[in-house]
């Protein structure tokens, strides 16, 4: 037997099996189980789900009970968390749901109807924490060149996108439907997706991660609008600087005119802000939206200023201009002609700029899956589908998706939204219709289930499901 070195340069020789792979850093061996992680040979398959949950500070559910990736068992471990992932379904759903499981919770007989829904009309709502202008409202959002949704409203320092839905999934072209389905699937399974906005930016969206806009990772979410920022920091600025302008595409704030400055006794400075004045010290539309200061299309903040009013301004007047995240700032003094000349930010103001930055939360993308339990899915639960809707409305039936809590919309149907990061990994699948497949569980009291016309003949005790470990998947990877 030849003696083989354990390493070549930075590569590790894996001795877990006789293949003896040499593995480069960041790569796995032939088995996809052992990897070179920063020079260490590590086994990577067993803890993926748990680690993800722990590292994100989440609650651990006993989902994995052995050192293998989840292999498709419906129920795992001694205290089962029954999810519908991998339960399978029928489509159209005229048959009872694949699993109708009874158990006792606090002495009450409970029934969980476990199924996977095929969501042909589903979509995702994406919240992107950024001040940068992603594109005009209603602008088309594309993936791989295909329209998959649109930009909707900007709300509280975030830009919202609405993707998917029936018009892209089934009413568009064949490729549009396929790409939309793939985009939704990747977003729901926590993968990164690159989107482009017509007339706007390219943005990489991944649930729970910072958005990457035109190649730049967004770091911070604004502390508030320009006006709010003035309100928050007026006391820290007053007396140290004559004027502060918080540049913001939405509402630019001006300390000397703002109520917060007035209360402190700030003196008029004759500063002239372009744009439309809303109320004193609050200006709309100081520039075109863009990806510069405060989400406006400017790189020089002086672009939003007109000449100072000579009746009020004075030579030597000091002015701080800062963005809503504190990431950009500039400090000026007026010269004899009342022109602002940029100078170094004084020490006693550095802290206030830092504090804006400190008070910003990390910018993230969040993805909510939105789907509806249509008539046929409900038929898998009860013979009388509308009663299920009523039961959910009356809070007699709890709806979960892969064990994660959902928000059910008021109004007709059972339309729900769920944070995709709360579902176990790769909980979403697809069928070529195209449509997404997602787990959904309805839990209710046994007597309520009978009352709403449930398929009581199909109820099986939870022990039975655990006992036979009903596997519905192939080898655990795919359905």
């Amino acid at each position: 037997m030849l003696e083989v070195a354990d390493r070549i340069d930075d590569k590790i020789r894996c001795d877990a099996c006789p293949v003896n792979c040499f593995i480069k850093p960041g790569m796995t061996g032939a088995c996809d189980r052992y990897a070179n992680h920063a020079g260490e040979l590590v086994r990577i398959d067993p803890h993926v789900l748990l680690e993800r949950t722990v590292s994100e500070g989440g609650k651990i559910v006993p989902f994995l009970d052995r050192p293998r990736e989840w292999n498709g068992d419906i129920v795992n471990g001694p205290s089962p968390v029954i999810t519908a992932i991998g339960a399978g379904t029928t489509y159209p759903d005229y048959k009872p749901a694949p699993f109708i499981v009874s158990s006792k919770i606090d002495g009450v007989d409970m029934v969980t109807v476990v199924t996977e829904g095929i969501y042909s009309y589903c979509g995702v709502k994406v919240k992107i924490d950024t001040d940068r202008h992603l594109g005009a409202e209603c602008a088309v959002v594309r993936a791989q060149g295909e329209p998959v949704g649109h930009v909707t409203t900007g709300e509280y320092g975030s830009q919202m996108l609405s993707l998917g839905g029936v018009n892209h999934l089934t009413h568009g072209g064949k490729k549009e439907g396929r790409v939309t389905c793939e985009t939704l699937l990747d977003l729901c399974n926590g993968k990164a997706v690159e989107l482009t906005v017509d007339g706007g930016v390219s943005v990489v969206v991944q649930a729970g991660r910072a958005p990457i806009i035109n190649g730049h990772a967004e770091e911070r979410m604004r502390v508030g609008c320009g006006s709010a920022t003035i309100g928050m920091f007026a006391k820290q600025w007053y007396g140290k600087v004559d004027e502060v302008v918080v540049v913001d595409d939405h509402i630019t704030g001006v300390l000397s005119e703002h109520q917060a400055g007035k209360v402190l006794g700030a003196r008029d400075t004759g500063v002239k802000i372009k744009g439309r004045r809303s109320t004193p010290g609050r200006y709309f539309h100081v520039a075109e939206p863009g990806s510069g200061w405060g989400g406006a299309a400017i790189t020089d903040p002086l672009d939003i200023l007109g000449p100072f009013n000579p009746k009020e301004a004075w030579p030597g007047l000091t002015m701080l201009m800062v963005s809503t995240t504190g990431e950009q700032h500039a400090y000026y003094e007026l010269d004899d002609q009342l022109r602002p000349i940029k100078t170094r930010l004084p020490e006693n103001l550095v802290e206030s700029v830092e504090r804006i930055r400190e008070n910003c939360e990390p910018a993230l993308c969040s993805v909510l899956f939105m789907g509806g339990a249509g008539g046929s899915l409900r038929a898998g639960v009860t013979e009388n589908p509308v009663r299920l809707t009523r039961s959910v409305r009356q809070a007699l039936t709890t709806v979960t998706a892969g064990g994660a809590p959902v928000t059910v919309w008021p109004g007709g149907g059972i339309t729900f939204m769920v944070d995709v990061t709360l579902l176990p990994e790769n909980a979403f699948g697809y069928v070529p219709t195209p449509a997404l497949v997602a787990p959904i569980e309805f839990t209710m009291r046994l007597d309520d289930y009978a009352a709403l016309g449930g398929h009581v003949d199909y109820i099986r005790p939870v022990e039975e499901i655990i006992g036979e470990r009903a596997n519905r998947l192939g080898d655990g990877t795919l359905r």
Binding site: F22, M27, G88, Y91, V431, R469
Partner: protein, 308 residues
Amino acid sequence: MREPPQHRRLSDGRLHLNDGPIDLIIEAFGAEVEIERAYQAAGLRFQTLLDELCSELPLLRTQATANSLHPKGSVARRMADAVAPFAPEAYITPMAAVAGSVAEEILEAMTKAATLNRAYVNNGGDIALHLLPGERFRVAIIDRPDQAGAFGRAEITGDSDVRGVATSGRHGRSFSLGIADAVTVLAASASAADAAATIVANAVDLPGHPAIRRAPANAFDLQSDLGEKLVTRDVASLNADEVDAALARGWREAERLRQAGRIVAAALHLQGETFVCGALSTLSCAPAKLSPPEDFPSCPALIFASAS
């Protein structure tokens, strides 16, 4: 540290064998006592299988030619035999048939030891089948091993010649010289299907196209049998004509193999398009492409896990 081969019964009774990169899902059908006997035989044969293979790895990673040395091990011989017909035509090493050959070897150990109506050994998507006349398997075919969902189904009956199914493409564990998302081949044996799927997947290509990013195989895997050959790392979106042109190249190769009697059928998949070669009665893709059949999600008897 060398981990011993793992044996375990899945909760639904199937047998799972794992050793290093080999991951087998096995199911036998027949009398209870015969099934037990078959699983014991599979486990016994599996015990030394990887060690046998690895003792001849350098030879198995070398291009097959008319003058190639004959390997000694029985799995290695299956591999060499499966790729030999391709050696005059293309660059191929016995490793192109490793997964199918392993599946075949285990299946043979089972059918020699026990009387079974039907059985399968699924080695990460490369599957050896045992079927008595009148028996059948239904197989779901996926296009992207990294995503859930199937684009087609095949029904394989005991009366057909098909005893092996294999899938190859650029998303699996191994590298591909071509750009196919997946090529699934039905053939008389798993090793033959495995080798042919590799060759057909390599043929689905648009040489020199700027949307295709390639890199030397050994930049990622030092011991890859493909050495410095450029393997596909990424394929950007292609237009419909380009997709058709790439698939047509692969289809011609598949059709040539089919007419020579070396495969029974093939389904070639690239960016949402599928070309099928061979008997549609055995391999059916079209219906599933448009809409899921009513019993679709609950039907699969076998599922492809990953391309080889």
